[in-house]
Symmetry: C2
Subunit: 465 residues, 2 copies
C-alpha cells in the first residue's frame, strides 16, 4: 500500500483526471486481454506529459513505492497486471502522434499512442510503419517498445528494436533520458536506448519515441496455400526468399490444428478445404504493382507445378487480402476455443519445428488423450506459437503440462519466449533459455539503473532470490 | 606498468606464442591504419581461446591492470592504441570461421576473423554477409561488433548491430557470457548482447559471434552518376527508394572535391568527367537478374530524361562494378592527399547536409584560404564523411579547426560520430551529441559491468572526471 501522503502529494502535480482512486479504478487497470486479473491497485496515475511522469517517479523513488507500468494491456505474460502494493502508472493519456517528418521518414509519438492509429495516420502520407500484430487496435507504441514486439513482418523489417531511432525514457528516480534522435547512425558512446527496448518496463518508463517509416508499397500480394508436408513448407519458404528477395514481407505457417479451428469461426472465411496438414500465408510487398504480382504468381505457379503446394488462393483485392489475414489474426479466438489451455511462444531452429510440434502434441495427450496442441507461427523468424489444451481437472495439471512443454523446448534447443517476453508468467522458466551468468548480468544492470527496484518489480526476475 | 609477476603468471596459461614482450612487440601493436602511434606496451597477450581470454582478464582484474583490446587496428578514433601502463590483448589468433549453417543462414566465427575472409567463404555457399567497408581486408568481426560498424550497405541491411544474432563475451572479471544463439527472436529478459555491441570494448571482450547471412543476390547492378545540384541528389535517392524498394543496397554520394581527387589516383579509373558538383554510386541487388537490371536501367533512364542526373555509367560486368566501387573505397588515399587534415564522420538530416558542407568549407578557408574540405558519404543513412584540410602551421590550428567543425555539427543538429565511434580522439566532443543524463547513465553501466575500469579505460569517457 502506498504511503497515505504520496497520492495527496502527487495529485496537485497531475493535470485534471490524472489520479484515480477507489471506485474510480475500473477493471481495465487490473485485467489483461485474455482475462487474467491482478491485484486491485490503490491508485492509478495517468500523466499527460513527460514532466508529470518524472514527478511521479521521483516521488515514488523517494518513498520506495513500487509501480506497475501500463500501456494497452495486451501483453500475454502478466507483466502489466498490478501486484499487491503497486500503484499503476498508465500512459494512456500520452497518446499523441506528435509529428510525421515525411522527408526523414520518421514519426515522433508519445508512448500511449495506439499502433493502428499510427499505421493509419502515416498511410495517408504515402508512408508505412511496418510493425503489425493482432493487437494493433489496442496495443501501444510504448508497450511495443518495452516488450520489443515482433509480429507478422519481422521477416522483412525486424522487430520493434530495429524500428526505433530515438527514445525518451524516464528513469526510476525521475531523471529524463532524452535521446529523440532521427538518425539511423549515432555511434557516440553506448546506445542507451537499447537498454530499455525489450526490458519490459523494469529499467525505465518509455515516454516518447522516434520511429522509422518506410515508403508505402505500391502493391501487396497475399496468398493462402495448403501443403501436405512440413518439408514442403520449408521448401516454399526457401523458394519465396530466393524469388521474392526483399519483397517477401510475411510467411506465416498454420498447422491443420489451427487452420481448421480458425476457419470455423463465424467472422472468418474458409478460403481453402481444411484437409491438409499445413497452411501458409505468404505476403509480398512491392514497389512496382504489375511486376511484383507477376513475380509472386510466378513463384506460386512454380510451387504448384513442382507439387510443393497442393492448392493456393491468391487475393484479388485488398478486401480478399484482409479476409486471408483474418485467419491468422484470429489467434486469440482460436486459443479461447480450446480452453483451458496454455499458450507458448517459442523460437526453434526450423529443422526442429516439426518434431517439436509432434512431441508437444504427445505431451498434451499423455496427460489427457482428449487434449492436444494447436500450432502456428512466423516460420521465417523461427517462431512458433503453441496452444496446449489440458483438462479441467486439478490446477496442477496445467502446471505439469507447462513444465513438460518448456522442458521440451529446452531439449529442442529453443527459446522459451520469442516475442511475448517473460513478465511474471514465464519467470519460472527463464533459466531454460538463459545462463546464470546472463541473469547475474541482468540483475547488475537492474541494480545500476533502478537501485530501489521500484519499476515493474518481479517482472523477468525477482530482484533478490 | 603491469606488476612484474602478472606476465610471468599468465605465460603458462597461454598457448605457445601467446605472449610477446620487449623487442618481440612490433609496431603493429601500437600503430593504427592512419599511422597514429600509441604507447609501446609492456606485454602483448594473444590468446587462442575464450578460456585463455577469461584467464587473462581474471588475472588483470585481480591486479587492476588496464587492458587495450585489439582487432585489425583499422579504427579511426585511436580506441585500440595502447595508453601508458596498458597491456595489449590481441584477438588476432582467434580468427577461425567455426561453422556456416546454410539452413539457418548463420555463421559462427571467432572475434579475430577478418571480414573479407568471412564474406568470401560464405559466397562459395551461395550466401552473403552484407557488412562491407573499405577496411574489409584487415578489420575483424570482433572490431566490427565492438564499434557497431556501418559501411556501404546499411541502407538495406542495417549496421553490425542488426547482423548479430548471438554473442560470446568475456567480462572484466573473466566471467564468460555465452549467448551464441541462432534465433532472430529471443525476448527472454534483457538482450544483454546489445550492451556490448558498439561499446568500443569498454564493457567486455567479444570472443565469438553468430552472424546473420542472406541469400547471395542473383545480380548486382552498379552505376555511377553525375549531378549538378544537391536537390537532384536527394531526388535521385527518393526515386531509387521508390523504384527499387528492398533491392536498393547502396547509395553513396561524393562531392566534386572527393570525386576529382579519387579519380586522379593511379589505381582508380576516371569513369566520368570531373566537372559536375556531385557524384553518386547506386547499387541494386536483385533476386532476378534480368528483371532487376531492367528496373535499375529504367530508373536511371527516368532520372536522365527528367534531368535529375547529367550522366551515368552502368557497369556491364563484375569487373566494371568493382572499378566503380574503387572510387568510393579510395577514401583513405584521398584523405592522405590533403594532409594535414582532420577526418569527420557525422550524421545529419538530409536537408541540412548541403548547407553543412558549404559552411564546413568556409570554416576551413577562414583559417587558411588555401584549404577546404572534401565531402562524401552514405546519403541514405544520413551519414557524411568530411576531410578538413589545415595548414602545417602551429598544432593548435588543427585543434581550432576540429573544434569549429564540431560546433558546426552541433549547430546543424547532427551527431559527431555516425559510425566511427568516440574512442580517444572524439572524447572531448561527446557532449556535443549526448546529454549529461545520458553520459551519467553510461558511467553507471560501465561501473556495474567493469567496476575496476580495466577494459579500454578512457575510451568514450574517462571513468572519473
Amino acid at each position: 500500500m502506498p504511503p497515505p501522503g504520496l497520492v495527496d502529494m502527487l495529485a496537485p502535480s497531475l493535470s485534471a483526471g490524472g489520479l484515480l482512486i477507489g471506485a474510480e479504478i475500473g477493471p481495465r487497470y487490473y485485467t489483461d486481454v485474455v482475462g487474467r486479473v491482478g491485484a486491485s491497485p490503490q491508485a492509478v496515475l495517468r500523466p499527460r506529459s513527460t514532466t508529470e511522469v518524472s514527478r511521479i517517479l521521483a516521488a515514488c523513488h523517494a518513498e520506495g513505492v513500487p509501480v506497475a507500468i501500463q500501456g494497452g494491456m495486451t501483453g500475454l505474460v502478466c507483466g502489466a497486471l498490478p501486484r499487491a502494493s503497486e500503484i499503476v502508472l498508465s500512459l494512456e493519456r500520452m497518446n499523441r502522434i506528435e509529428a510525421i517528418d515525411v522527408n526523414a521518414a520518421t514519426a515522433t509519438v508519445e508512448a500511449g499512442a495506439i499502433l493502428q492509429m499510427l499505421q493509419e495516420r502515416v498511410e495517408t502520407l504515402g508512408l508505412s510503419f511496418p510493425l503489425d500484430l493482432g493487437a494493433r487496435g489496442s496495443c501501444t507504441i510504448g508497450g511495443n517498445i518495452a516488450t520489443n514486439a515482433g509480429g507478422n513482418r519481422v521477416i522483412r523489417y525486424g522487430m520493434m528494436r530495429e524500428l526505433v531511432l530515438g527514445l525518451e525514457v524516464v528513469l526510476a528516480d525521475g531523471t529524463v533520458i532524452e535521446n529523440l534522435r532521427k538518425y539511423l547512425k549515432n555511434n557516440t558512446g553506448f546506445d542507451v536506448k537499447q537498454y530499455f527496448i525489450g526490458s519490459e518496463g523494469t529499467l525505465g518508463v518509455v515516454t516518447r519515441a522516434v520511429l522509422r517509416l518506410f515508403p508505402s508499397p505500391a502493391a501487396r500480394a497475399v496468398a493462402c496455400c495448403s501443403l501436405s508436408s512440413f518439408a514442403n513448407v520449408v521448401a516454399l519458404l526457401d523458394l519465396a526468399r530466393r524469388r521474392l528477395g526483399g519483397e517477401l514481407t510475411a510467411f506465416e505457417v498454420m498447422w491443420q490444428s489451427y487452420f481448421s479451428r480458425a476457419t470455423a469461426l463465424p467472422h472468418v472465411k474458409p478460403v481453402l478445404p481444411t484437409d491438409r496438414a499445413f497452411y501458409v500465408i505468404v505476403e509480398a510487398s512491392g514497389v512496382d504493382a504489375a511486376n511484383s504480382l507477376y513475380r509472386f504468381e510466378n513463384m506460386l505457379g512454380h510451387a504448384h507445378e513442382t507439387t510443393m503446394i497442393d492448392d493456393a488462393v491468391i487475393a484479388k483485392s485488398e478486401a480478399e487480402a484482409t479476409s486471408i489475414w483474418r485467419i491468422r489474426d484470429a489467434s486469440v479466438e482460436v486459443h479461447a476455443m480450446i480452453r483451458p489451455a496454455i499458450g507458448f511462444d517459442v523460437s526453434l531452429a526450423i529443422d526442429r519445428m516439426e518434431d517439436f510440434a509432434v512431441r508437444a502434441d504427445a505431451v498434451a495427450r499423455a496427460l489427457d488423450p482428449r487434449c492436444g496442441v494447436i500450432v502456428f507461427g512466423h516460420l521465417g523468424d523461427g517462431n512458433l506459437h503453441v496452444g496446449a489444451q489440458h483438462t479441467d481437472g486439478p490446477a496442477d495439471i496445467g502446471k505439469e503440462l507447462e513444465q513438460r512443454i518448456y522442458d521440451l523446448v529446452a531439449a529442442c534447443g529453443g527459446s522459451i519466449s520469442a516475442e511475448h517476453g517473460i513478465g511474471i508468467s514465464k519467470r519460472p522458466y527463464l533459466r531454460h533459455s538463459r545462463t546464470d551468468a546472463e541473469i547475474a548480468l541482468m540483475r547488475a544492470i537492474k541494480k545500476a539503473i533502478d537501485p530501489k527496484g521500484i519499476l515493474n518489480p518481479g517482472r523477468i526476475f525477482e530482484i533478490a532470490e
